[in-house]
């Protein structure tokens, strides 16, 4: 089956999937921790302005930070309790970011959300609910969802794509969400179609998620929505199938030229997990304060797919899952191909935390790199048709400034080149350096 399924036209790799560690584990709600650290900066853009004071009482789902100007989304308390302090917490990219620490009140009742009708709401009202719920894309970059669903006036869109490729090894948060919440995802998709005035939705799923494909296909067939067409598109398993440009080309045949965005070719791509949170926000009125996180790797005692409150410290998750083994070598937030390795488990879970991987020393490769032997493997696997080998050689020769000719800005740092490099060259690092220097 995988041979006949479509995929993107150029390059790609097949890293060891390691999905089997968690793919059959149902989503498990983790007991909320005693304290949470809610980061006021969950993504790129502006940090939130704090709405609460120290010692204030907050309830689960209460808005505690808003963005006044610029790019951002509001944040909510993920537990009921009192504000212990307003300070700073470790951040995977920025090292440190402002945060609110809330101590949970063990007596507080969990909040219950009940569904309500949404079909009569206008697109503006729907967008308002999404904005108030603080939704951001759960796939990685965390772009605020209400902004993404407000394309510039005059934009013509004809296809919505739900990105369910989940091509990163290890991760299963999208997979489990699809298996357990297919109707919520389909309703989320219909809400997006309504907001954007579109009729056609494709859910792109890699072929290694047969159960999700089956469950969603059946749910889509049962769906009686007359005004739209939602189809499930099985895709060949190949990294980086979940990259926006590669996914769009696979499903529609259209290419998004640099520096354009998907709506330039009439397409909107939304992560499948985000569609579920759109259902939560619109139908249940529930803000984004918890999410599914795949905790995996061969150095964690018990891998799991956890429903975790935003702000839960990774150290609490490690304790909950029985600790780590002695051969733990690397902790990665996100997938192993594009995630960030972190030096501390004091880091809190963010809205964009799709996974936390505890990798053992036999899962990673820390051999030192050597000179480029020009085997050309990186060129073969680059799905953007670039020449990572040349970029690396230029950077090492002190000529990073001259790398724009190789199209470095088109590189989205999927890491396929560095994965295959037999000389173990840090090609992603070279490319980042090249971008920084060539931009000036």
């Amino acid at each position: 089956m995988s041979k006949s399924s479509p995929t993107f036209s150029k390059g790609g790799i097949h890293p060891r999937e390691s999905k089997e560690l968690t793919e059959h584990l149902p989503i498990e709600a983790m007991q909320p921790p005693e304290e949470v650290d809610i980061l006021l900066l969950q993504h790129f853009g502006s940090p939130c302005r704090v709405l609460v004071d120290k010692k204030a009482t907050v309830i689960e789902g209460e808005t505690i930070g808003v963005v006044d100007a610029g790019l951002g989304a509001s944040v909510h308390s993920s537990v009921s309790g009192t504000v212990k302090s307003i300070g700073a917490s470790p951040h995977p990219v920025r090292v440190e970011a402002p945060s609110v620490t809330i101590r949970r009140d063990p007596q507080a009742e969990p909040r219950v959300f009940t569904p309500s009708e949404w079909e009569h709401l206008s697109p503006e009202e729907l967008l308002g609910k999404i904005r108030n719920a603080g939704l951001v894309g759960l796939g990685g970059a965390g772009f605020p969802t209400h902004l993404k669903l407000s394309p510039p006036p005059g934009t013509r869109l004809d296809k919505l794509i739900l990105n369910a490729a989940e091509c990163e090894p290890y991760l299963n948060c999208d997979n489990r969400t699809m298996i357990e919440f297919p109707h919520e995802i389909l309703t989320g998709a219909r809400i997006i179609l309504r907001i954007l005035g579109m009729k056609e939705c494709h859910i792109g799923i890699e072929n290694n998620k047969q159960e999700a494909i089956w469950v969603l296909s059946r749910a889509a067939a049962e769906s009686t929505a007359p005004d739209c067409k939602i189809s499930v598109n099985p895709l060949m398993v190949k990294y980086p199938q979940g990259s926006e440009k590669q996914l769009i080309q696979t499903i529609t045949g259209r290419r998004v030229p640099y520096p354009g965005l998907p709506f330039d070719v009439g397409v909107m791509v939304i992560n499948v997990g985000t569609a579920k949170t759109i259902y939560d926000a619109v139908v249940l009125g529930k803000p984004l304060y918890e999410r599914v996180v795949t905790i995996s790797g061969r150095a964690i005692a018990r891998p799991a797919n956890l429903m975790v409150r935003i702000g839960t410290r990774l150290s609490d998750i490690v304790t909950f899952l029985g600790g780590t083994s002695d051969n733990l070598a690397r902790i990665v937030v996100g997938g192993p191909m594009m995630g960030f390795s972190i030096p501390t488990t004091d880091l809190p879970v963010m809205k964009t935390t799709s996974g936390v991987l505890f990798l053992s020393d036999d899962e990673i490769d820390s051999r030192p790199h050597g000179p480029c032997i020009r085997c050309g493997k990186c060129v073969e696997v680059c799905s953007m048709g670039l020449s990572p080998n040349e970029v690396g050689i230029y950077v090492e020769a002190g000529r990073a400034r001259d790398t724009a000719q190789f199209g470095v800005f088109e590189c989205f740092e999927c890491g396929a080149c560095a994965f295959v490099c037999p000389a173990k060259r840090p090609l992603v690092q070279f490319t980042r350096l090249a971008k920084a220097k060539a931009r000036k």
Binding site: S9, K10, I13, P15, R16, P169, K245, R255, V256, P257, P259, S315, V318, T324, L328, A329, R330, I331, V332, P336, M337, M338, G339, F340, S341, I342, P343, T344, L357, L359, E363, I364, D365, S366, G370, P371, C372, I373, R374, C375, G376, K377, V379, M384, G385, L386, S387, Q405, G407, E410, G415, A416, A418, F419, V420, P422, A423, K424, P426, V428
Partner: protein, 338 residues
């Protein structure tokens, strides 16, 4: 108990299990069958020369890297490949010390003085051979041994005193096709003997069969692609067919491919990562160029064999070929040059 700080690294955190060492030692393994066969064709002498060549390449590499205060990387197997390939393209009847100056030229000058692995412009083993041909032309072009046909293998350490002979290409160049048949057998047995490796020639170049099997294994492992070997072989065959006979289109393409170092060069020398281009189109042109130059040298040049110089002439064109055939970008900005 979790220690306070973990080491960090740049993504991707997963790497393939391939490495330069693995690739190089696999290539070495693919050359070994041809080396073993050469012992049965030319006697133990072939093995001794290969051992001296390999040992001197490794020694020269270690000494050079110590001298230049670079990390010693002889374990990566690349000097072993150079040593084997150098031995594979010198005649079995040469004095036993002959590979040593070749190794110095190949490793010290052609490899490390040009920047070390990854930066050399020319194939080091072929520079070694070219140096030996220029310096010791008589030995390098006449120290051929006739194939041994029975169990006399282990008694034939005598070497230079053994029967001296001429290579099929030499005979073809100076006496024509009829002389080749007279000397090496009727076409029916001649092709088979040449294919298996029972013919005079350089130590490791004679067995098209074993070299092809080694090359196919490298393709199976995806260490090399088919483009350069196929283009080289087809190009040698085509141009030999067109220009190699007494009249146009009467040459013998099969004999041309099976003699000399075409198969060895096509699979193991022209495919050297560092000195050949990336990109399928560039590889096809590179291979076609190697083939055309080989036939040109064989037919019009002073030497009966031309694979070595053909590859050396194409090597410096690799960067230009890559420039002409850049990879097609997936979705570049409008108006981008590629």
């Amino acid at each position: 108990m979790i220690p306070p700080a973990w080491s960090v690294s740049i993504s991707p955190h997963l790497k393939s299990t391939e490495s330069v060492e693995k690739i190089m030692w696999t290539v070495v393994a693919c050359l070994i069958p041809s080396l073993i066969l050469s012992v049965f064709v030319f006697g133990l002498r072939a093995l001794i020369i290969a051992a001296i060549s390999t040992a001197s390449c490794v020694a020269v590499e270690a000494a050079t890297q110590k001298l230049l205060k670079r990390p010693v990387t002889v374990r990566d197997g690349s000097a072993v490949i150079t040593g084997l390939l150098l031995a594979f393209c010198i005649p079995p009847g040469v004095p036993l010390w002959m590979p040593i100056p070749g190794a110095i030229m190949a490793i010290y000058v052609a490899k490390h003085l040009l920047g070390g692995i990854g930066f050399n412009i020319f194939n080091p083993a072929l520079i070694g051979r070219a140096f030996l041909v220029a310096t010791f032309p008589v030995a390098m072009t006449s120290a051929w041994l006739a194939p041994i046909h029975d169990a006399a293998v282990f008694g034939s350490l005598g070497g230079i005193d053994a029967v001296s002979t001429a290579t099929p290409l030499y005979v073809l160049k100076h006496y024509g096709m009829n002389a080749v048949i007279e000397r090496f057998g009727a076409p029916s047995t001649l092709y088979w003997d040449f294919f298996v490796g029972w013919r005079p020639g350089c130590i490791g170049e004679t067995s098209a069969l074993l070299l092809t099997l080694g090359g196919l294994y490298l393709m199976l492992r995806r260490y090399i692609s088919w483009h350069i070997p196929v283009a080289t072989v087809l190009s040698v065959g085509f141009f030999s067919w067109v220009f190699g006979g007494e009249k146009l289109f009467t040459g013998d393409p099969v004999l041309a491919v099976l003699s000399g170092g075409v198969i060895l060069g096509a699979f193991f020398m022209a495919t050297d990562y560092v000195t050949s281009p990336n990109g399928n189109a560039a590889k096809l042109v590179f291979g076609a160029g190697v083939g055309a130059l080989t036939v040109l040298i064989r037919l019009k040049g002073g030497y009966p064999e031309g694979v070595c110089y053909a590859i050396l002439l194409m090597n410096p064109l690799s960067p230009a070929l890559e420039g002409w055939f850049k990879p097609k970008r997936f979705a570049p900005p409008k108006g981008a040059t590629t």
